[in-house]
């Protein structure tokens, strides 16, 4: 194509004609300025910048991004291109950083974000609730019909002496423990319960992507355990006392587990029925609400563990126990279902 042109390109002359060289000469000072600022942010955080530097940063970033765009089009200097790619990537993460006002996010989450996410996921939550209830029914009926089933359903290590052969007295003592050693163990017990239940809740959520099947099994299994234990106490004439023992903290704890299960099922639904989205896209779309629910549930479980570890071992009046259970149920009912403005949604 250049055969007809008699021009000989001389080295010295070519320098002046290279647009990419002039381009670099004009702008490299601002790149280096940006590089210094970014280096400081990466080392000492954004707070180490002064006011004027903070104003300067986005301007320099946009200039660098536009330089990159031009350089990609006109320059064949690979080292320069790689420098600009790296610089703009680094400054991008400084300019478009995680918005962090933890306190406001925290308040918005507990006053609005959590409850709204739960309400939006009413369907899966109800399915999770139904699964737990079904589990309780299965466990209860199975044990009432044949006490031998109890040992099949409840792992001996987990029963802590509440096995099929236990006497009425020992069962009653478990419900109304007040001796010194029991109170001494309370703190440890509460902390164990909390992290154990929180772990189950997180599992319910995390296993949801497997079409929700492990989540349903977990819910059903936990329900069966509860039902089997209730049946054991029922058969010994301690049914009322048992529920008085379970419900003060159980309302909060079971609700939290059901909600976590709902979060898992939300994902299961996204995997099974993604609609017009891709499966990954559908998962991402529900991921936010699912995570909100699980976060909230970890908080609920902390409350439940406190009730379980301290309150239950210290208060032995059945009527008071039922009153507390009713009060927590009313509280959570209002918390989730009370109509409110939705301005805070998406903030957390």
């Amino acid at each position: 194509m250049a055969a007809g042109r008699a021009v000989v390109e001389v080295a010295d002359g070519a320098v002046r004609r290279l647009r990419s060289v002039a381009f670099r000469r004009d702008r490299e000072a601002s790149w280096q300025r940006l590089e210094r600022l970014v280096g400081r942010i990466e080392r000492d955080g954004i707070d180490s910048l002064g006011e004027s530097e903070l104003v300067e940063l986005p301007t320099l970033h946009r200039a660098a991004v536009s330089s990159l765009s031009v350089a990609r089009a006109i320059s064949l200097d690979r080292s320069l291109l790689e420098y600009l790619e790296a610089l703009t990537a680094r400054s991008h993460f400084c300019v478009h950083a995680t918005p962090s006002d933890p306190w406001r996010a925290f308040v918005a989450f507990w006053t609005a974000g959590f409850a709204a996410a739960v309400r939006r996921s009413a369907g899966p939550v109800l399915v999770a609730l139904a699964t737990v209830v079904l589990g309780v029914a299965i466990g209860f009926v199975a044990v009432v019909q044949d006490l031998a089933n109890y040992d099949l359903l409840v792992d001996p290590g987990m029963a802590q002496g509440r096995d099929a052969s236990a006497s009425v007295e020992s069962l009653r003592a478990g419900l109304y423990a007040r001796d010194a050693s029991a109170v001494d163990g309370l703190t440890r017990f509460a902390s164990f319960l909390f992290q154990n239940n929180a772990q189950v809740g997180i599992l319910c959520f995390a296993l949801g992507f497997a079409a929700g099947v492990p989540t349903l099994l977990l819910l059903l299994f936990n329900g069966t355990l509860l039902g089997a234990m209730a049946a054991l106490f029922h058969l010994r004439g301690l049914g009322v006392d048992f529920w008085g023992w379970v419900l003060p903290h159980g309302v909060t704890e079971l609700l939290a587990i059901v909600l976590c299960g709902g979060a898992g099922l939300l994902q299961g639904r996204a995997v099974l029925m993604p609609g017009q989205r891709t499966r990954a896209g559908a998962l991402r779309a529900v991921g936010g609400d699912a995570a909100r629910i699980v976060l909230g549930c970890v908080g609920m479980l902390a409350v439940a563990a406190l009730l379980e570890g301290f309150f239950r071992q210290l208060v032995h009046e059945v009527a008071v126990r039922y009153a507390v259970a009713a009060a927590t149920a009313a509280f959570w009912g209002c918390y989730f279902l009370w109509p409110r403005r939705t301005a805070g949604e998406g903030a957390a």
Binding site: V65, Q195, F209, G288, V294, L295, A348
Partner: protein
């Protein structure tokens, strides 16, 4: 949202998978996906730190460990560390935990926005299942599957392997948590502004030997060769034998009668050629018809 995935190679060296992430400025960023090995090493580095902290706390709490209070505290610390470590650092350090800093990777939003707190929470809630569970299962199979015949245990173990295999199979090395949160783990890029090669000849002044090239001579090589030559010029000093070898080969290919025997002549020739060739190819690039590689 469009994400372009491509694998970049240079010779037989794999540079890595790159993705183009859209940005608010409208210019896509090209990021390199962190490799599976980098992910594992980063994770181990984080776990190592967690274990070290637990060990120190255990030493501090040692006098009370027999009692219920110490035990309760230790259990809460373990829970908080297991679940909070990654969330805290990915939020406060903008996607970089200490382990990720160690291997120079970071978590980013796949759609080019800021990394939101919820994304961090989502990708770390599933971490429990994806990392701790397989570790526990491999370490203590009996606590994980308490009963059942051997083959049932085998199937359970196989199922756990899924978590380890997912990021290995996915082209963008996303684990389940990344899929849920819409995040990617990318390699941190580093680059320094090197000298402008096309200016060095001018600075060398009139004393340096001059070389001229005809349009036909500049029509042989393409962009790829130009950038290989750039690397050679940047990496080798004045009198390297590689430089002389390259200069001789290029002169032969061009049919150029340059005298390359003098001290520094090889480098001067290559720089002059680089400059002329780059000027020529950049002009063609602007016209939309630059050659990628030399004609065979």
């Amino acid at each position: 949202m469009t994400i372009v995935t491509s694998r970049r190679f240079e010779g037989d060296l794999r540079i890595g998978t790159t993705v183009a992430v859209p940005t608010p400025e409208g210019v896509p960023l090209v990021l390199t996906i962190a490799s599976y090995a980098e992910r594992v090493v980063g994770l181990v580095a984080d776990f190592g730190r967690i274990v070290a902290i637990l060990f120190v706390i255990g030493l501090v709490l040692a006098p009370w460990l027999g009692g219920p209070l110490g035990e309760a505290l230790l259990m809460l610390v373990l829970f908080a560390l297991r679940n909070g470590w990654f969330m805290y650092f990915e939020l406060r350090r903008n996607g970089r935990t200490p382990g990720k800093r160690f291997v120079c990777t970071r978590v980013v939003d796949a759609r080019g926005g800021p990394l939101r707190p919820l994304q961090v929470v989502v990708r770390n809630l599933t971490r429990e299942v994806e990392t701790w569970l397989p570790i526990v299962a491999i370490g203590q199979p009996d606590t994980f599957v308490t009963s059942g015949p051997g083959w049932v245990r085998g199937v359970a173990m196989l199922w756990l392997l899924v978590f380890l295999v997912v990021p290995w199979v996915d082209a963008r090395r996303r684990r389940i948590g990344d899929l849920l949160a819409g995040t990617l783990v990318v390699r941190e890029q580093r680059g320094s502004l090197e000298v402008e090669l096309a200016e060095r000849v001018a600075r060398a002044g009139a004393t340096a030997p001059r070389f001229a090239f005809t349009p036909a001579q500049l029509g042989i090589y393409g962009i790829y060769e130009l950038q290989v030559l750039e690397r050679v010029l940047r990496d080798h000093g004045q009198e390297s034998s590689t430089l002389r070898e390259v200069a001789r080969k290029i002169a032969r290919k061009l049919g150029h009668d340059a005298d390359l025997r003098a001290v520094g002549a090889a480098r001067a020739f290559l720089e002059a050629f680089y400059q002329a060739q780059r000027g020529r190819l950049e002009t063609e690039l602007a016209l939309g018809r630059a050659r990628e590689r030399k004609r065979q």
